[in-house]
Structures are given as C-alpha cells and as structure tokens.
Symmetry: D2
C-alpha cells in the first residue's frame, strides 16, 4: 500500500489533516493499539515483581522491551499463529532474556490486555485529543458570547420570528450545552475500567500464579490510572465504554445543532453570519458566485455518519456467557468516533474564529418584525393591567396588524375599549411597545452570567 | 373507542398487565401528562404570589382547580382552538374566579409548562415505576447470586467451555452491571431540568410581569424538586433527557444480555436452568412437548423494539434556533420507553423467582470438559515451574488429549521431557489437574463480595 | 380501561383522528389481527376439504365461525392457557360442531397462522390505507406541480440562492420521488409471503395429516392472494417484510424531506409558502402573532420517531435455527409504522390542499439575487465563445459585483479584455444576463413532462 | 503516511486481505473515485461532440487524458483551490490542448459528475466484488445443501428441540434467502441513476451550451450504462442508492443469521459443526484447548458495526431544497459497506469450504429427544383418527413421559382410553412414533427442490 489514495476508508486520507496525523496516530492508530497493549503487558510484569513472582530487574527489562514494539512485527507473527495477542506476547518474548520471557503475559488472558489497553487508550484520546478540541471550541464560544452579549437579534421558534434575544445569549446556550458535555466526557473517561481477572473473570489462572490476584489487579490499574472493574467476565463490563460513547455522541449532537443553526443563519435570505471564504476558494464548479456553509455542512454530515453507530455500541453491550467475540471487530471501529468528534470540533473552532457577523442584517430583521413582536408584551401588559381576555385580544390585534400593515400598538390604540388599559401603561412600557427591538429580556445578563459560570467551572475542573 | 382491542399500539392492551395499568396510567398516560402540567401551572401561580403579583389565596384557588383536571376536557377545548397548552389554560381558567384566572399561565410560554412537567413526570416515573422494578430484579439477582455463590458451573467463552466458575459468580456480574445502571438512572433522573424562561428563553415576558424572573424560575423548580436549567431557549436543553434515556437503554441492554444468557442456558442441550411452566400452559400449538423460554425471549424482543429509539432521542437533541417543533410528537412516545423497561424488569423478576436450576446438568457439563480445561492450569503450572515454552506445550498436549480421548494431565505424563517439571508440582496442584472442576478461582469469594458491596451501596442510596 | 386518556401510547388517543379510527382499526388493531388469523384458519380447513380430509360443509361451518371472532374472547382464553394461537383455536372450536372442531388448525403450527395472517394484513393495510393516503398526496402534488409549472422561483443549494427554477419543477421532483416509492410499496406488498409448512418448516405434521402438503400450502396462499414462501422454517423468511418496510421508510423519508423544504420556505425571512391557519387557531400560548408550520413539523417529528425502527426490522431478520421468538413482541409494533406513514401523508395532503403560495415573495427573492445568478450563464457564455479561463473570470467578477454592488454583467462590461467575447453574445444571451430571472432552463417543460409521465404510470398500475 | 499501521480506520490495514487489496482499491478507493469521475467527464465531452459542440478529436483527447488521472494530483490542486471537482477539472485541463480544455466540464455542475460517477462505481462494485462474493457463498451453500439433503438433524425452535429436519433442509433456507438477496442487489444496482441536469436540476447552463440538453444527458447515461434520473435537483434523487443499500444490509442480515446459527451449532454442548482449525493456530492466549468459531463471530461483529449505518443512508435521503451538502462526507463512507459485506461473504465461503460436520453428534441429539418429539405426530395421528381432544392429550402425555422417563408412545400405550385410536394407526404410523427420527417430513425433497430452483434461477440471470 504505497499510495494512501488506494485506501477505502476516508478518515485517514481525506479528513485527518496532515498536521494532525501524528497526534491522532499516537493514540488512535493500530501502532498505538499495540503500544498501549505492550504497556499493559509491562504493567503486569511490574505487578508480578511487587508480589515477588519475578524480580524488579525482569520488570524493567520487559518495560524497556515494550517500548519499541510496532504493529508491523506483531502482524507478521499473527499471520503465522492466527492470534493477535499471543502474537504480541511472542514478539515481546523475543526481545527479552529467556528468564524474563517466562513472566510475560503470565497468568493473563488476552482480554485482560485488550480491554485494559483500550480503556487506557480511550482515556488518553479523551485527554489528549477530544477534550482539547472541545475546549478550544468552548473557549471560542465563550469569546463570541461575551463579545456579542448585547447584540440584539430576533429569536426564532418554528423558523418564525418570535421575540428578541441577543446573539450572545444564543451563543451562551451552546456554551452551556457544550460545557455540560465536556464535563460528562471527562467524568465518563475517568470512569473507564480495566480488568485483570483471567479467562472467565474468576482469577482462575492467577490463583495458581500469584500470591494475591486481587492485589495484582489493583496494582496494575493503579499504575495505569484506571478504574478497576469490581467484577468482570473475560471482558470488562461494557457499561463504562457505553457511558463515554453516549457522552461523546451527545456532545456531537450539540455540535450538529450548532452547525445547523449557523447554516440557517447563513441562508441567503437571513445572512446574519457567514463562514469566511478564501480569495482563491471555489464555491461551486459551475456557479462562480456561491458562498456555501461548507464547514457547517461537513460537521452535520459527520454527525449523520457517526451518531447511528451508538446502536453498534449498545449491540456490543450484549456478550454471551463469559463473553463471545462478536464485539471484537466492531470495537476496532471505535477510534473513528474519537476522530470524527474531534475533527468536527476543530473545524467548528476554525470557522468560528473567522466568523463574519453581519450586525446590520440582524438589526434589519428585528425591524421587519418589530410591529408584530409587540404582540407578546402587549398581551402581558394588558393582562397585568387587568384586561380579562388579554391573550385573545392580542392575538386578534396581531392578525389585524398583519392585515392592515400597521403595528400591533397602533391596532390596539385604534380600539376604544382598550383605552382604559393602555393609559395605565408606564412610559417605559409604552416605549417598549413602540420599539420592541429593546424587548430582549435578560438576554445580555444571562449570557454574561453563563460565560462567567463556565469559565469558573472549567478552571475548577482543571480544563482551562 | 369502546373496545381496547380496537387499539393499534400493543403496549396498552397487551403488555401492561391489568394489575399494573392504574400505576402506569397515574404517571405515564395522557391524563397524567395533563395532571403534571396543571401542577406546574399551579406552581407558577404560587411563585407569582411569593413575589406579590397575586395573593396566596389566588394561588390556593388555582392549586385546587389544578387537581381535578382531566385530559378529556382539555382535548375538547384543544379541538376548538388547536393549541394544547392554551387549551389546558382555558380549562383551568374556567374553574376559578375571574380574578384568579388572570394569573394562570401569566408570563409563561407553553414549553415552560410542557418541558417542566415532563421532567417532573419522568422523575416520578423513575422513582415510582422504573427504579422499583429494577430494584426488585436486583434483589432477586442478589438472592440467587448469594444462594448459588458456590455452585460450580463451566464458564463459557465463544460458546465454548472455557474454565470453571460458579453460577453465583455468573449472576454477580449481573448484580454489578444492573446495580451500576440503577445508580445511573437515579442520578440522571435527579439531573432532569425544568425551565421558566419564556418564549425564547430570555425571560422577555417575565421581565414585564414579575419583579424577579430568575427568582420566579428558581422558586418553581424548588417547589417541584427539579434542577433549574442554567440557561434555556424556548425549551430545556435536551441533554438531561438524553442522559436519562441513555441510562435506561443501557440498563435495558443489561436485561437483554441476561435474557440471552438464560435463553442459552435453557437450550435443550444445555438445560442448566429453565423457566417454570404452568401445568395448563401450552408450549406450542402443534408440539405439545415444548417448554420455551418465552419470557426471556419477550425481554429480548422488547429490547430490539426499544433500543433503536435512542436514535430518535439523539435526533430530538437538535432543534433549530430557539426551538422548532420537530421534537414534539416524537417526545410523546418517550413514556413508552419507561413502560417497556419496567415491564421487562418485572417479567424477569417473576421468572427468576421461580427459576429452575438444574445442578446436576451443571456438574455433568463440568465433568465432560474436565479433561480439557486442565490445559490452562497445566500451562500456568509448567510456566511457573520454569518450562520455557509452556503455552505451546499445553496447546499441543490438549490437541493430543482431544485426539486420544485422554486427559491433558495423562497426555503430559506420557511425555518424558515433562517429568522434571511435573514432579515439582505440589500435591494440591496435581490434584487440581486431576479434578479441574475445583478450578473455580475466586468465584465464590468474588460473588459474595459483590453482593455485600451492592447491598451496602443500594442501602446507602436509600434504594433498599 | 374506560378512559382512552389513560393510555400510554399516543397514536391511538392523540394522532389517529376520530374519523379514521374505524378504518385503521379494521386492519391494524388487535381485533383485526385476530380476524385475519381466523380467516387463515378458515382457509386451512377449506384447503383440507379440497384434499377430501374433511367435507366442504365443514369448511363452510368453520368459515362462518371465523367471521365473528373478537379479540376479547381470545384474550380471555389466552389468560387461561398462556398461548395466543391455541387460544384462538379453542375459541373457534367452541363455535362449531364437534366434528368440525377436529379439523380446525389441523396439521398447522402457530406461525403458519401468524405469519400468513400478518402478510395478509400488511397487504390489506397497504391496499386500503397506505397507498390511498400516498396517492392522495401524489395527486395533490401533481395538481400543484402542474399549476405552478411556470412560476419562477430561486433554486437554492446549501441554503444559498443558486439558479432559478420554477415552483412546479421543485414539486415535480417530489412527484417523481413519491411516485417511485408508491410503486415500490405496491410491488413489495405484492411480494409478501405466507407459509404453511409446520413447526420446523418441513411439513412434518402435514405429511401425516394430508395427502399433498405442498398443494395444501399453495391452495391456501392462492385463496388468500399471497405469495407462497418457496421454503420456510417455522416462520416466513423475514426478507419480504424487510423489503416492504424499507419501501415505507424510504417513502417516509421523501415526506420528511418535503416537510423540511416547506418548513424552510415558510421561514419568516423566506415566506414563499404558508400553511393555512384557522381564524380561531392559537399559534403560541404566549406570542399571539405566531403562524407556525405545525403540520410540517409534525410530519418531521413522526419521521424521527419511526425511521429508526427500521433497525428493529433488521434485528428481527435474525432468528436462530428454525426460529426463536425474539421477533414476536417487536413485530406487534409494526402496525404502528403503517399508521404513522399514512397519518403523515394524510396530514400533508390536507395542508397542501390549502397551501398559501406567495408569488410576490418568490419574485422578490429572484430579483434580489438577479445580479449574482448571472455569474453562471456568464461563465457558460464566455466559455462557449472561446474565453480560455471562463470559470475563474466569472468567479472573480461575481466577487467584484458583490463588493461593488453592481450586477455581474456590469462588472464584465467594465473590463476591456472581455469586449471581444461579450460582443459575440446573441441578443437573447445578453438579454438573459440582464434579466437572469428568466434563466429557468427546462424547469417548466420538465415539470409538465414528469406530471404526464406519473399520471400515466399510476393509471397503468391501476392506482389512479 | 509510510506505515499502514499508523492508520485509524481498520478496514484497510486489518480486514482487507493483501490478496484482495488491489481488486478493492480498483473500485472502492479514492483513486477509483477520481478515475470514475474522470470517466464521466470524458463521457460528457463525447456527448458534446455528438451534438457538434466540439469535435470527436477533442473527445478522444479528453478520454485519453482521463485515463491516467490519479488522486494525488487532484488533491494537490484541491489544496490550492478548496473544491474537489473543480480540482479534477483543472488537472484534466492541464493534460490536454488549450482548445480541448475549454470543453471539459462544459455546462456541468459538480454533482453531475459526482453522483453519476458514484452510481457507476457502486454498480461496478456490485458487479465485480459484491455479487461474485455472494455467489461464491451461494454456490458453497448449494453444494452443502445438496450433499446433506438427507442428513437428519433435530430442528430447533426457541433453542429447544422441536421436530426433525435434515441439515440440507436447514441450509436450503439460506440458499433461498441469500438467493433472493442476490437478485435484489443485482436489480437495485441496475436501477442506479445518474444525472446531467446542472446546478439546480433544470438544465439551466446546458440550455446555453448545447443544442439538446435532454439528449446530452441520455447519451451520457447510455454510454455509461446507467439509468437516467427522470428528474433531479443538483443531485440524483436518493432513493436508488437507498434501495441498493437496503438490499445489501438485508443480505448482510442473512449472513449474520447464518453466522449465529453456526456459532450456536458449534457450542461445546451441541458440536454439530465446527470451523476447521490450523494446526499451528492458537485458540486462546491462556486456554490452549479452545476452538472458537472466530470467523462466524467476526461476521456477526461486522454486521453489528455496519447494519446501523442504514440509518445514515436514510438521513442522507433528506437534502434541503435543490440540495444541501450534509450528505457529502457521510456518503464517502459508503464504499466501506461494499467492503464489509463482501469480506464477510468471502470469509463465510472459506469457512464453509472446510466446515467440519459431525454427523454422529447430530444423530445423538435426535436420539436424545426421540422419546419427546413423537408428541407432535401422536397429536396429529390421534386427531386424524378422531380423538376429540388430541392436542391436550398429547401435551399431557409428553409431560408424563418427561416425568417418567419413558417415550410418549409408551405413555400413550399405558392409557386404556387411547386403545381405540392407537389400534387404527397404520404400521408406518406406529413405526414413526417408535422411531421419530425418521419424522423429517419433506426435508430432503424440499432441500433438493430449492437447490434445483436456485441453480436455474442464477443461471437464468447470468449469475452462474
């Protein structure tokens, strides 16, 4: 395979930028898989040494040997014996003295290594790749939300103009939602479990090979910084991985929602924001004038490809008896999920950094609906000032205003029966009905409050 | 609709037992939906009274009126005005004095009511229905795991006999997995959020109608015992519901795995357990001798129907701008998820209570594989006593044993080159190779430890 | 269950309109399930009579008895014996003479009845409910597409104005897509299979009970108008149901796409179409001015709930050995899919019948982008007239036009180097660049052609 | 990327065997994507020449240039201009004379090229890779089904022994199911559509650039052997791809079912079949005696990873207005589906070729249940000879036989009241009750009939 474009899977040759390949490969490639497994094998021998099954010198020798191991060598051996973990073991044994070789994988079953190494690897991927990418995005959202905390914008429900908010308030909702997912990803990653309980989870072989199997398992997990499965079969109970993957898919949903919102705000008719566009960039192969929200579309597209894979994760939660192997191949695709989420976050960060915000367009939309959005405050004020049927009255007036092309306030003022109520309105209240663009409630205050809270929260969790 | 069998949806007429209909309807039916919404409307007026917008007498009148409200009345009104929450509001208004009517729904948007009521309802469903059902199952698993902690059974991986465990150890894995899901469901239900921030989430109307909108929202949530969304749009951020639903689907996965395992253990050729069978019960309409694992199959079947709906939950996590309504109808199916999970747990509990455990069959299977399962301990012991190629030797001997119909130990003893190692084995070690049925590792100890831990854990969380 | 609002599942009490309940119940309710099963039982006895196993009088007696059977009776018997099909058999037996009773279900296994009755029922549901609903929608789309075949509208890609089309052309795409799904649903429904091959599919019992088992199976399927599974296990191979469900989910996807498009066209900023709105209808409980695309949102929401259930259908495609029962409960939810798709089509038809089309708004959008959409024809014309770098030139000019606020043609005319090319343009060509609103290509022609083709196609298939 | 083990996606470095890489890359890699697109670009110029827009010499020059194009070159250009198809166009232009360059991509929009090339490529993948792999598997199933048409085996429902079949009959069910999927894949692949209708589907640019745009589109599709979309937007209507993918996922479901069945038949307690096992192959890294159904497990695991992606396919069926780009990245993962299905079929073929069938084990299981499986024929025979309550009697007797450890016939013979019926049984009938192992119905006959039918059917379709 000399040409990367002879590959089938598009993540590697198309979506991972050259500048990120090394970082991703260090944790999520097959070489990384092997390296993390070797590290677990080394941790086993170290734990054996702690129980005097072998010497610390043996443990050091194995730890040293574990460092250089590469997938190519293991695959060659696997081709010979048709078992991947035994192949790794054989490769490790060749790299140490005969004496030390005897202690490699001693008392272990393959999935002691595989599941523990995966937990370790997923944790590293979260720590080194996923969280940094999401935090950069969160930081960008914080910056934008604070900057635009007071920039008024029409709020939209059902795609219809509703009541005014501020652009920063809109963004603060994403600060909140993404923030909560960041914490959940961090928490569930820390909950990932390893195991060292042998072929059926009952420490059968280990009771013959070490003085204290439970301590051995604890020692290994402590050394690796993993939770220890309180009980296991041949494999770690699948729930800790499910929880992490749910957290990631849920975070991805937030990203997809954000991408959709920005795609919509970039519509020609709305045009309140736009992706920046390179001067040499081609928008369409046939329509030279096009400026498309390519990056937002890409994030949504990744979401459509990756979200349904949560079904695979649940399906892998079922394994017969002390395990069947039907989760083996499917799990090998899990690293793609870490890549897809991270790439999408990185892409969004980049776009948001250069986001074009068209304040004029925002104000224009507000003005267009100003005559109608007064219907809600009118209803509230009529009600507060004692009108017995305020909502129905405001509804009727807004239909009338729409028909007559006047403002809702004008329609109200044209009705004699409303005089007694309208005259009770304070001048600030009447002012709001005249210029409902100011009717942004607590948007600015709330936006800033959310930003403060998350800046603090992330710092508290060592994330900023 | 006079005949329930004219219904299309099977949960109501087929799967919810008559004895449970009332309990389920109290929280998960349409009448319950309306009742919880009325309760939120009442909480709003109470909070208004706290800010002196109205008197406490008004709040009491509304609270009283809210109690009797039924869906039939609301639906009749909705038919007239084509808006469900406004219909509820109109119905409530009719039940109180004109003066009090003015404060009903005052400053609220529909989804202040709908989302808050749903959070409240889901929390009630978890507390009253889901957790009790899962805890009964957990209790039954605890009882069985303790009872059979020492009952040896062959462990199976890939559907193949592997190494011995105990039946209680097998069950303890489910005690652990289900226990962890129970805690997660409890935790995520407590994390459910309500909101009272108006049509676009910025408290627009509330700034006109009450002195302190943020306090109003807090007061309402405190009264209802819900988390308060730190920030919201027209709707509560979807993540807290996603988290609960994930916890439930993940718990369902544990139930489905358990059902599969028991289905397999009930296979004719295995026959280690069986569902009890009524003396009048018909197994098959044509094969009068059949005894089928109907209940385990039913649970798996429910799982296949309901797990994929997690995809709908994620799809509902995306709502445009300050919200679109494309999550409205789909969310109305969420109560089915609570029902499906609870019914499945209740069914499993019932079956496990009468589970037939065939200890003889378990011992027979152990004996059948006794000559082979010694391969692992032989490999471990050879290795521990210094054999340089223990795994390969044991593998070769087990192939030989399989061919020659002898035990692995006998095959080993037939090889002169192994004498130096075999003679180093302690008598307990040699005994284990002769009677590998005892080779259950720490099964019993671990089973009891897990049971102790979970009994304590559940008590600590107020669940037992 | 006296109050339908004590139900959990929302389809029955909320979404099926009262006017449609009877029609839906006749095929998709539990009573219908029982009735179709009774019909299959009757067909069996008739086929037995053809082989002289019993007399035609017996067959007539059973056919008569089968007509009146109701679910209530069967459920009471099932409660006693815990087997649904045997319960039906017992109920039928009670309704006939002892002599005739002996031939009921004779030689059959439950799933000969269940699967055959389901195939029959799904076929009826397609014929009586699904296809009529989709055809009404298709008819409405045809009407609108023809009516608006020449109404120009800006085409949009990536949410951006692209090149002009006509509204009828836009609709013709849905005529085509929905039409193709209608034919596929019809075809796959006709492909539904029944079976009569006994408990393991090998006609074991039938070889003892009838002279020619294969003819018996053929006779039954012929009488019922079903395909006969060429070979079966206890159950019909799942593929024919999968194919139908795929066709339905794919049709649902077309409906969801249409709903999304209309939701977007109804956005405040676009406003090219709108759902009609009742004069008493409430748009929002707090914003009296709102006009929301409720029906389009509802269809999308149903789609989000039902599309993922295709995963359940595939999961049910796996059944161990000669069958396991893990598809039993899950299949009982299939009728909901027929309801959901039909309701969505009926809803769309109703909305489209009263659709408000705002031609002025359409023309306004075209005019707004007129100066830019000329970029494509300019590129094409430059290229056709020999410009060596036409695309890049047009791209540069459109960026310039955007900056300078002039039309693309004006930008071109300002460049001396383009004179030689521009002067080669025919007057029609230059005219198009000046008024690119006319640049609708073959929109009108294609729209009408598609409408003609589908009118013919549907007639040919007996559907119009 | 010098080391393939630095990749993240596992298909390329792990699952595609070295011997198949070239064949897969030729159609499903990125180089293939580019090559197929270049071929479509060449077909366009050829069609232009047919309408005298350019000369045939130009078309030949472009066709020649299109042949050598590689992804590496296109990616370099894309990096510069940020548009993939325009990058391809630029690369092609560089390879031809200036005169010819002007006609490349003339009047086309990117997705005229992309969607048409994908249809072509998927069709090639079906023809060259998917169908051959499935046909090899079908051929192997046919061979086995014929060979074992008469080998009796216990039929199993609910995992319980039911009635006897033959192993060939069991396999014939898969011959049928896989056969039907092969035909559906072939049919849906032939239904794949291309389009050449420009940026919004209305042939806008083409009406300026060619005399007859509709003929141009037809000419291109005819040359490429594709269906022509009767109407399109910027993209081909998604349904033809959905149909093919459904056919493939449905076929995959058949493979997964087969894998599950064989996994179960290989269980230690059943042992009726086994995967062959290399003499050097390691079964477990710790249990040297293990023989695992690795390949069947792998196929099921692939299924769990790939089936849920059908949800992505449906999600991609929705594209706003004349298209959005949110299906772009997700579609780039579609080639993986072709690979996954083919690899799984190839793997199953290989295993089935060396399948170990343990006839003794099959006969032993039949004998074990012989005393019980007579319950069904006893019921049938009692009924046929006039017993009024045959099913209930047989059910009772089988419970008695189970308790007393006697055969059902013996239990029957012990009841005086049954004498009148039993003595009416023919000697063949009584013989069957004594030796119910022969009670295989039409298993053998049906197995052979199915094999004959499919051999003919596949030949008729040019597939064998």
């Amino acid at each position: 395979m000399n040409d990367p474009f002879d590959l089938v899977s598009p993540l590697d040759f198309r979506y991972i930028p050259a500048s990120r390949q090394k970082a991703y490969a260090a944790i999520l490639s097959e070489n990384a898989r092997v390296a993390f497994q070797a590290r677990v094998e080394a941790a086993l021998v170290h734990a054996l040494a702690k129980q005097k099954v072998c010497s610390l010198a043996v443990a050091r020798e194995v730890a040293q040997a574990a460092k250089g191991i590469r997938a190519r060598e293991v695959y060659a051996e696997e081709k010979r014996i048709a078992h991947d973990v035994r192949a790794l073991v054989n490769c490790l044994k060749r790299r140490v003295s005969k004496k030390s070789a005897a202690f490699i994988h001693f008392g272990a079953t393959s999935y002691d290594i595989v599941d523990t190494a995966n937990a370790l690897r997923y944790q590293a991927a979260v720590r080194e790749i996923v969280l940094p990418a999401l935090l950069e995005l969160e930081t960008e959202l914080l910056r934008l939300a604070k900057r635009h905390a007071g920039l008024s914008q029409i709020g939209r429900t059902h795609g219809q103009h509703a009541e005014p908010i501020t652009f920063g308030f809109f963004l603060a909702n994403y600060v909140e939602r993404l923030g909560s997912r960041i914490l959940l990803i961090q928490e569930t990653a820390l909950g990932l479990e390893g195991k060292f309980s042998g072929a059926v989870g009952a420490y059968n072989a280990l009771t013959l090979s070490v003085p204290d199997p439970l301590r051995l398992e604890r020692d290994i997990m402590n050394e690796l910084g993993l939770q220890c499965s309180p009980v296991s079969s041949q494999v770690v109970p699948p729930e800790s991985v499910e929880d992490l993957l749910h957290a990631m898919v849920s975070a991805f949903t937030v990203l997809a929602n954000l991408a959709d919102d920005f795609r919509n705000l970039q519509r020609t008719e709305i045009g309140e924001i736009a992706e920046a566009f390179g001067s040499r960039q081609v928008g369409s192969s046939t329509m030279p004038h096009k400026r498309n929200p390519l990056n937002f579309e890409n994030v949504k597209s990744f979401y459509k490809q990756f979200m349904p894979r949560m079904v695979s994760v649940y399906l892998d939660g079922i394994s017969e008896h002390q395990r069947d192997l039907t989760n083996s191949a499917s799990q090998r695709f899990l690293p793609e999920m870490f890549v897809a989420l991270s790439l999408s976050a990185e892409r969004l960060t980049k776009v948001l950094r250069n986001l074009m915000v068209d304040e004029e367009s925002m104000q224009a939309h507000l003005q267009e609906s100003a005559h109608l959005i007064a219907a809600e405050p009118l209803y509230i004020l009529l009600a507060r000032h004692g009108h017995p049927d305020a909502h129905e009255t405001a509804r009727r007036l807004s239909m009338k205003a729409r028909q007559d092309g006047c403002s809702v306030l004008e329609a109200a003022q044209a009705e004699r029966s409303l005089y007694p109520f309208l005259k009770k309105f304070s001048s600030r209240e009447t002012g709001l009905l005249k210029d409902p663009v100011k009717y942004t409630g607590l948007s600015r205050q709330k936006a800033l409050q959310v930003c403060r809270r998350w800046t603090g929260e992330l710092k508290k969790n060592g994330l900023l």
